[in-house]
């Protein structure tokens, strides 16, 4: 239940980033969230409107791209994608895997903005 502070942190970062584009309106914010990030999309969406009010992000859409867990399986010598987070075993050979390559991400991937044309 720390989604509110996560959303507040997203708003701060995006506000700082759009300062380079005066007058720009943020249309969309895209996140990459790993399946092991302990963050629930519904809770993020629930806080979104309230937290973005009165900021350059007001009226923007939050898009959450959830990333599956990817482990490196030593036995297969390759990266494998897990179907869920209930068993950390290679889905190909069944061996336990402890080398996590993806799944804890919690990041802002990109933003889409409408830029004001600069007068010549």
């Amino acid at each position: 239940m720390h989604e509110l502070s996560i959303v507040a942190s997203i708003v701060d970062t995006v506000t700082e980033s759009v300062a380079a584009y005066p007058g720009a309106q943020v249309k969309e914010v895209r996140l990459r969230v790993g399946a092991l990030a302990s963050v629930v999309e519904d809770s993020l969406q629930f806080c979104w409107e309230l937290t973005t009010e009165g900021t350059p992000l007001a009226g923007s859409k939050l898009v959450v791209n959830t990333l599956p867990v990817v482990m490196h399986c030593e036995a297969c010598a390759q990266e494998v994608e897990l179907a869920g987070v209930q068993s950390f075993r290679c889905p190909r050979c069944g061996e336990p895997c402890s080398d996590l390559r993806q799944g804890r991400e919690l990041e802002i991937d990109s933003i889409e903005i409408d830029e004001v044309e600069q007068q010549a």
Partner: protein, 223 residues
């Protein structure tokens, strides 16, 4: 109006991660083994930590503890009975500790400096969800589970158990009356975090403490 996509690729908890990395560097250069203890409320983190502090002090080690709770300094008072310096962090509603709180309390802690320590324990707020997202700069994250909580806790809270470096099962003295299925609990922990070190302990009888203390000494030697 022109539409533009701006790539940010910024970690949302970047500020915390950066401060945690700084803290980790400071802990390593001061040669202090730092552990972050995480579990649900009621697992027995405080009792386990109190016994750990007592045992380490009895062996002449220099130890201290930071303890996080929403309110009250009850846990700090309990832990201070061990004789170790203890400082309470009250989060006033925040469900986890973060690197900034740890940094601020270390700075403000009169009479305790990293240079004078060998072990620093950080007892997190009782919560199996949020603390897993916040790096505190610790060397070892310990996930605790008591025999009264159900063997499937690791499956229900995979993020925390998967990010742990060691697991401690507490209250082993009442395992039998609780109908605790030891084999199943060990299997579930291993399913989520294959190969993790697991300690089966009791703060009441002292069971498992020798193995745990040997692990701490070994981990400290490897800083």
């Amino acid at each position: 109006m022109t539409t533009r996509i701006v790539e940010l690729r910024r970690g949302i908890l970047k500020k915390n991660d950066e401060l945690a990395a700084l803290l980790r560097g400071r802990f390593i250069s001061a040669d202090v083994l730092v552990l972050n203890l995480v579990s649900s409320p009621g697992t027995g983190k405080t009792a386990f930590l109190e016994l750990t502090l007592r045992e380490l002090l009895a062996r002449g080690a220099k130890v201290a503890a930071l303890v996080g709770d929403l309110e009250t300094d009850n846990d700090a008072r309990r832990l201070a009975a061990s004789g170790a310096p203890v400082r309470q962090i009250n989060t006033h509603g925040i469900c986890h500790l973060d690197a900034e709180m740890v940094d601020r309390h270390l700075e403000a802690w009169e009479g305790v400096s990293l240079d004078g320590l060998e072990y620093l324990f950080i007892e997190n707020v009782g919560n199996l969800v949020c603390p897993s997202s916040y790096d505190l700069g610790e060397k070892i994250r310990v996930a605790l589970l008591s025999v009264t909580e159900g063997e499937d806790k690791p499956l229900k809270y995979p993020t925390l158990f998967n990010s742990a470096d060691a697991a401690v099962i507490t209250k082993m003295d009442i395992a039998e009356p609780c109908g605790f299925d030891r084999a199943l609990a060990l299997k579930n922990i291993n399913e989520i975090r294959p190969g993790i070190r697991i300690f089966e302990t009791s703060a009441k009888t002292g069971a498992g403490m020798d193995e745990w203390l040997a692990y701490l000494a070994e981990a400290r030697a490897k800083i």
